[in-house]
Symmetry: C2
Subunit: 313 residues, 2 copies
């Protein structure tokens, strides 16, 4: 069990994380690296592992070794939900970032064993009270929800691909979601509204209890029935690989909520601070390297820095 | 005398404002309007007039009428420093905003009487303890500083034109500036640094005591010897004309400082809230119309909304 960031709750809830597991080749303006452990589920789980007991669901292929699994185990992540499919290799993505990291091109994508992934949950996961639906097909996200008992707090993420190709399935899904997390360009794509405030209000009208719109280096805005909250990003000066920043944000966010066993407006705002700081680590190195090695004291230091940065008094 | 927003100081200081006075024709994706009273000095002065006793310095031409002057007088603005040059018309600018207002093209610009403008201060202005150097040629900004007695708190603004054509004069000027206010693209142009945190640190090393980098709809960041402060923008949903937003921000910012007679880190942070909210009014209508008509209670309401928006607790 990894050492967790302390919270005010004596009864932290376990957190179910579902998403892709991948090997990535990433090219940035500064460097490139191959066979990086990635995918939404990996980033989400590593980030959440600082806060909660993570139950991870995903599929890996015949090229996924014990050493890769050991990296996740070392952070206390429960891997009962990771299926090893020996019929082929792990999901593979190769991408290249442009100057200033503000855009990227996909150079190669091979679904491999991920093509037939169907997230059937182990029995021991069915009672999860906190659920992170990382980016996968919205019908698969719905399939996860259908298996769960009780009334879990559900955070869902998505990408432009599903907004374009699976809009109806996505609209059905977000009606069942507690907290829908999306970036600014995707919010505009879903609502047709370029003003972020109006876009957030419209997204909430589509069904999710709350919405967070992420603006990358410009921070994030929460839309909640009790009000709005705007948070600047952590002041990163060593940007090396933006891959997984959004997944790390989502993982830390719901991880923090699970660790406090709270989901009210104030708790979500507080969790956004931890999420922003955790994601700021991710982008400072390729893959999950910084996330894995940082340690909880580094996150707590950044939260303290961010609190000062946004404090008027 | 216009009704001022209350402050905690019993000795508000008068504020000197220098800049262009213009008539603008503005075309936006939604509408267009002609002969709008504009220019940096107008926006700065209207915005500052909610907080401080403004002494305005500029030049107007033979087409500038008593009704235009009356608009400024109605806000309590001292016009002793406004010179009327009968030899030609007032500075004229015509511009067109693109879709989403994120870029604009200058369609026509006529300097007219502004071409020979030399800001010689009336004697009664020489003791000003707060000075706003709105966007004009940096040599003229320096000429204003050279006339002032004492050790005033000086806020300077600039534009990309002077960064490109008058870099040396600008570098000399900002060494004498208390607070240098600049937008993100200009900050990158001046420092060669695209990371806003590094750009702000570099700008401070160039001489000004403090720096604010404005990011439009994404807010602003203060760089001060006592720390940094990041503030989101006021959540505007009725964007109609961005012209003058930066000038209004600067005017309200130093106006608020003058009204409290304070220039410390906490005071600048507090003034940024007022500046953001005052500028949010400007963009909701063409020209200074909203600024003029809003009233202090509307600004105070927005400050309260913004405080809630950024409050973690």
């Amino acid at each position: 069990m990894a050492d967790l960031i302390s919270s005010d709750s004596s009864t932290p809830s376990p957190l179910l994380v579902v998403g892709s597991v991948a090997f990535d080749n990433v090219i940035t303006p500064k460097a490139e690296q191959e066979r990086i452990l990635g995918g939404a589920a990996s980033y989400c789980s590593f980030a959440a592992s600082y806060y909660a007991n993570v139950r991870m669901v995903g599929v890996v292929g015949n090229d996924f070794g014990e050493s890769d699994l050991d990296r996740l185990r070392a952070r206390g992540i429960d891997l009962e939900g990771i299926m090893k499919d020996e019929s082929g290799p792990t999901f593979f993505w190769k991408g290249k970032y442009h100057e200033n990291f503000n855009r990227r091109d996909t150079l190669d994508i091979r679904l491999n064993v991920f093509e037939n992934f169907r997230p059937d949950l182990p029995d021991s996961y069915l009672n999860s009270e906190f659920v992170l639906l990382g980016n996968i097909h919205p019908a698969l996200q719905m399939h996860v929800l259908d298996q769960l008992s009780g009334n879990p707090f559900v955070l869902a993420d998505t990408i432009d691909l599903w907004i374009e190709t699976e809009r109806e399935a996505l609209l059905s899904l977000i009606k069942k979601v507690s907290l829908f997390v999306i970036n600014d360009s995707e919010a505009e794509e879903m609502t047709g509204e370029s003003n972020i405030i109006l876009a957030g209000d419209k997204l909430r009208q589509m069904g999710p209890q709350s919405v967070i719109i992420k603006k990358g280096e410009h921070g994030a805005v929460l839309f909640h029935e009790d009000g709005k909250f705007a948070l600047p990003a952590y002041p990163v000066t060593q940007l090396n690989d933006p891959t997984g920043a959004g997944d790390s944000f989502a993982g830390a966010l719901i991880g923090r909520l699970a660790s406090r066993n709270r989901t009210d407006f104030a708790a979500i705002k507080e969790a956004m601070l931890y999420a922003t700081c955790t994601a700021s680590l991710t982008v400072e190195a390729f893959g999950c390297d910084r996330l894995e090695s940082a340690g909880k004291s580094e996150i707590e230091e950044r939260v303290s820095t961010l609190q000062k940065l946004i404090s008027v008094a």
